[in-house]
Subunit: 685 residues, 2 copies
């Protein structure tokens, strides 16, 4: 990846002149996708189908055709025949996929199609008796060329036989013409078309990453809370550790999560430490926010002593791996005032006119517990130090990083860091925690973040979910992979505060099915819906204090048995794992419902099995997004989008409750708090 | 222009790898315009205002700013400050213009704005009494930097005084803060902003051409008809000549046209010559179609002997120039079967299986009088020979070429030819006569044609005119300059056949005002509206026969005096010349009318006068597009688009009829066959 070779990037201060390009013999315009006008790679994951499109056309009346070509990292071309979608507007497209990770390229080749030109002309002239023998001889010559250009080893018998037939003046001319449409002729030409004046577009970069970059279920914990205990006699807490947190891992794995994400695990600053509920003064036993990183014990390359040692961390990572899960680490590049960098690297910070180091502020708001990093005073050493810190965690087996507030650091820095890590660890996944303007969200994604938090938490109405997911699944899918979180430790929307258990089921089910990556924050099972007055976050935010959720109370036989969504989440994750249709983003179709609160969508995919056979997997989700009232309505399905005819019926099995119905194009549903808020339906013959 | 240096283009058969680009320190995305995804130059003409836009944003809370920069052919940068159009979507834009012809570049520079950042923060903190002295000292340092970076020769007194004031602890803090908003401080910083981390986008090519490429009124003639005479006794015609055609030039100039366009002037083939009304067999005296080019007397580099000699042609060109007009020549790259190339360059044609040269066909239609050229058999010699032919006409003073059916030749060929001619004759203008699919129309334009015929003849309803002109004036204006023709010698739509004189006035007036270049075909004055049955072209098409229009009959005192639109056209062209607002394309605004047949639009521009002063020129056009009924309605004007307040009134002077009214935001109009179909209103104080 050339982008990682400039360290730090300096030549971007010089405008790059863009030369005028020569039009191809067969013009190919508007190749799509095109990320940042072709300046950044398009993205996919291994095995992911996506569409390459372009406008392809030519002068005169001869036939034109087009091929989408993916070149793999080893330099081998993979051809995908394109079909014309819109003849008037000259749009062609092909579904394509790359079968392994690495930096590929994609291009569109326009070409003149002598076989189609002859088919068209001869198909009119031969039946009309015009220039019959000449047309058949011209056909023979065209197919002779096709035969001559077959790759070595391809059987040309069908073409050779056709050439002889076309020249057999003893036979009926129309019969000779139709011989060109014999299945064996069409088959060999479909695989090896005669392409003339092949005119490639530019070859755009395509970064193919591992499937976890697109698909996975995340579970967020504050490790210090897992196993934390409160002593009522002394009124003090004992912190959880990596060892005690590891005891929670089987339960998380049992719910079917793929990634365990840990909030920052580093020493926490003591200077200006915040107390419970973001109070300005912490008590002597308050643990502080793990986002106020750095103290005498160390900074971003260290572990908070309360959590244990690097050995304990390694144990935690290994235990997660045993359970089939990866660990994601939170990278929050900001410092407490007592972070070691403040003395060792004062150039990493901004010094004010009075000689003090600038704390974070957004006037008139002040965040005196946080010193933001400044990447401009000494970019070279700042970049190198950040890279060193990341290497510490790479060396301890971490391959997923959740980046806190990346939009407060230069986009350029992330582009460089992610690319530089990818040189040696291409499997690394970075999740961007940016809740900001669309341009910045997009820029972080196209610069390299494999995943992005989204506006999902604030998209609750049917129309806004549809609009947003359509954007995510089409225009932005080539560079931004969405992660849907109904809540986080900082986000508790009014919808979740007031929607009751129905809202918590619904928003998890939608997150888990609308997009392939979703996540929840520990305690989601318990529907912790009380907000700190005046802000849209939980009261007693776990950022500032320990939280013992007494998980055992919700187990069978416990005092709160049945008052947890754990089994609902387990079911969602089981459905996700069993149904490949839910592993993809771009395969979504929305269906029409008369009720403006009932949303319906489906995902479908063709699955290749180990034995070489294929089957279609289709999941249909119907949800009432109003958590306050039960609704009855009719769902009108786009049957072709489900792979069926309009008059077909099918078996609809609700995977959440196990019921089956026979459904067709129009179906009655009843959804809401009075019953289940969501159908997740497996569509079968 | 690098594109002309590869002759013929060969390396376009190799996919150009597009490297990943590094994001700038301040990200700049989606620079617009962007032609063919940045592969072809954006276009403008000297002095033409257009908008450069981009998404510019940055990390954190500091202020961002942006500049559009045009670099002239001599390498000097011209800065245009951008303003933010949409804060949420991070879109910035600036009106820009290039003041001379040549290959420029354009780019957008994003930058960090320390002055604005300080203004924002200090503006909150100083009045609130927070960190007052530190904030004022930081301000002093920021303005010190601005002062230090002023270009040599710029007066820094205002900034120096401000720095002193900010540090003057004897004065009121708020007063010191507000000193930074003094007009002289703002003025020097507006001209010379303190720009930090300047981050340029790529520099895209911008081809600036002469104004005639955008603005002009064209008049088409068949030169052989002008002065042709019919002898009723012998029943034969005598062809007009360049000398007799030149006698028509004063009348054309008097009507105010800028360009006289001649249909092809070359020898006409005799083999398979067509007769009147496209009949397959010509009589011995039928002159044939000037589009069937080439005979024993010569080909595309020769003049039809009936028209005269090169000296006569030179006389015609010179006479037009004396009258203030340019001559446009029709380039129809196709051959009659007896064209000299058929024997001298058989490789320029396609040979069929039976050994014959392929004539034009679109099966089952056959055009046996035309051999299309084939540019693929021998591109090098074909390109060179076409270039040689063009040089003949360049050498005889032609600088405008109207290209017949360019969409039947490779786009690549035109791109090369136009660029190669521009190397020595950058003032050359090529008009593309392509009536075909949008992708091809766009590709010919972006490949280099300075002007394009359009779908105007088939856009008659109000909604389709609005939609089409909006597209032409915005999205496609950066690469395609429209030419509006209500009719041509091949196009006579039902609207013109049946719309009566009202339609002929209306369609000329709309063409002349909606876009800066329009054209009419000789005889438009006479409203020749009879079609050959079954086709949408004139009966007795001038392509196949002489036509003596007896112009003198329509002169004052003649038998048909007053039955011509000549004076109407003269008035239209006078208005166009007198009003710079009509010289531009991108300055159009549509206004609302309640009646779906009444269209209203305005164009406005600021005019720089020779004495250095400026004035605003505004033209408002209101037309009833239904030629069959008079309509009364209310026109609701977008007053700010006219440079006025919503409550203002103005003098509306109809330049066609000379009447004036006092108008405001809502105005009654009555338009149609019963009165004038069009108001062309000059808007004044």
């Amino acid at each position: 990846m050339p982008v990682s070779e400039t360290f730090p990037p300096t030549d971007v201060a010089i405008a790059r002149p863009v030369p005028v390009q020569i039009v191809g013999r067969i013009p190919v315009q508007s190749v799509r996708p095109l990320v940042d006008d072709g300046q950044r790679p398009a993205k996919s994951v291994e095995g992911e189908w996506f569409t390459v499109a372009a406008r392809v056309f030519r002068e005169g009346h001869s036939s034109v055709n087009a091929t989408a070509v993916l070149r793999d990292p080893q330099g081998r071309d993979h051809h995908f025949p394109m079909h014309i979608d819109n003849e008037g507007l000259s749009w062609w497209s092909a579904p394509v996929r790359a079968d392994r990770t690495g930096m590929w390229t994609y291009r569109v080749e326009g070409w003149s199609d002598p076989v189609a030109t002859w088919q068209h002309d001869a198909g009119i002239k031969v039946p009309a008796g015009l220039d019959v023998e000449m047309m058949l001889e011209e056909g023979a010559r065209v197919y002779e060329r096709a035969l001559a250009e077959l790759p070595a080893g391809v059987d040309g018998a069908a073409l050779a036989h056709l050439v002889t037939t076309l020249r057999d003046t003893g036979r009926d001319p129309e019969e000779r013409f139709w011989a060109a449409s014999a299945p064996d002729v069409l088959a060999v030409l479909a695989a090896h078309p005669l392409r003339e004046f092949v005119s490639p577009s530019a070859a755009y970069p395509l970064l193919v990453e591992r499937q976890r970059a697109l698909y996975g279920a995340w579970y967020e914990i504050f490790p210090r809370s897992e196993g934390a205990t409160f002593d009522p006699e002394t009124g003090t807490w004992t912190s959880g550790t990596f060892r005690t947190a590891a005891e929670r891992l089987p339960a998380i794995a049992d719910m079917g999560f793929d990634v365990v994400y840990l909030t920052p695990i580093h020493p926490i600053g003591r200077v200006n430490r915040k107390g419970p509920n973001n109070s300005l003064v912490a008590g002597p036993d308050d643990p502080g926010s793990p986002y106020a990183i750095g103290a005498a014990e160390g900074g971003h390359d260290a572990i908070h002593p309360d959590l244990g040692t690097f050995d304990d961390f390694d144990y935690f990572v290994a235990r997660a791996a045993e359970l089939g899960m990866e660990v994601a680490l939170d990278i929050a590049l900001q410092c407490a005032p007592d972070h070691p960098w403040v003395t060792s690297h004062p150039e990493f910070f901004t010094t004010r006119a009075d000689g003090t180091i600038a704390y974070a502020e957004n006037p008139p708001k002040k965040y005196q517990d946080i010193y933001p990093l400044n990447f401009d005073n000494a970019p070279q050493s700042a970049y190198a130090e950040m890279r060193r810190v990341i290497q510490v965690w790479l060396d301890h087996g971490v391959r997923i990083f959740r980046v806190d507030n990346p939009h407060t650091k230069p986009v350029q820095f992330w582009q460089w860091l992610i690319a530089d890590v990818a040189k040696d660890y291409p499997e690394t996944i970075w999740l961007s925690e940016a809740f900001t303007k669309p341009a910045m969200m997009a820029a972080l994604a196209s610069a390299g973040f494999q995943q992005s938090y989204t506006y999902y938490a604030w998209r609750n109405a049917k129309w806004e979910l549809e609009e947003y997911v359509k954007e995510l699944a089409t225009d932005s899918a080539a560079f931004m992979r969405p992660s849907f979180w109904p809540t986080t430790h900082d986000i508790l929307t009014p919808y979740m505060q007031y929607g009751g258990p129905t809202a918590w089921q619904l928003r998890a089910a939608l997150a888990a099915t609308l997009v392939p990556t979703y996540g929840i924050y520990a305690g989601y099972e318990l529907m912790e819906n009380i907000a700190r007055p005046g802000v849209e976050e939980q009261i007693d935010n776990e950022k500032y204090q320990f939280k013992d959720r007494h998980w055992a109370d919700y187990e069978p036989g416990g005092p709160k048995a049945g008052r947890s969504l754990a089994s609902y989440l387990r079911k969602l994750n089981q459905i996700r794992r069993a149904h490949p249709a839910l592993h993809w983003l771009r395969n979504i179709t929305f269906h029409h419902c008369n009720d403006d609160n009932v949303i319906a969508f489906s995902k479908t995919t063709i699955v290749d099995t180990a034995d070489g056979s294929q089957y279609r997997d289709t999941i249909l989700v119907i949800a009432n997004v109003d958590p306050h009232s039960t609704r009855e309505t009719t769902v009108n399905l786009d049957m072709p989008a489900l792979g069926m005819r309009w008059d077909q019926s099918f078996t609809a099995t609700d995977l959440l409750i196990g019921h089956s119905w026979t459904w067709g194009a129009s179906n009655f549903v009843r959804l809401g708090p009075g019953t289940q808020p969501v159908h997740i339906i497996h569509v079968t013959g």
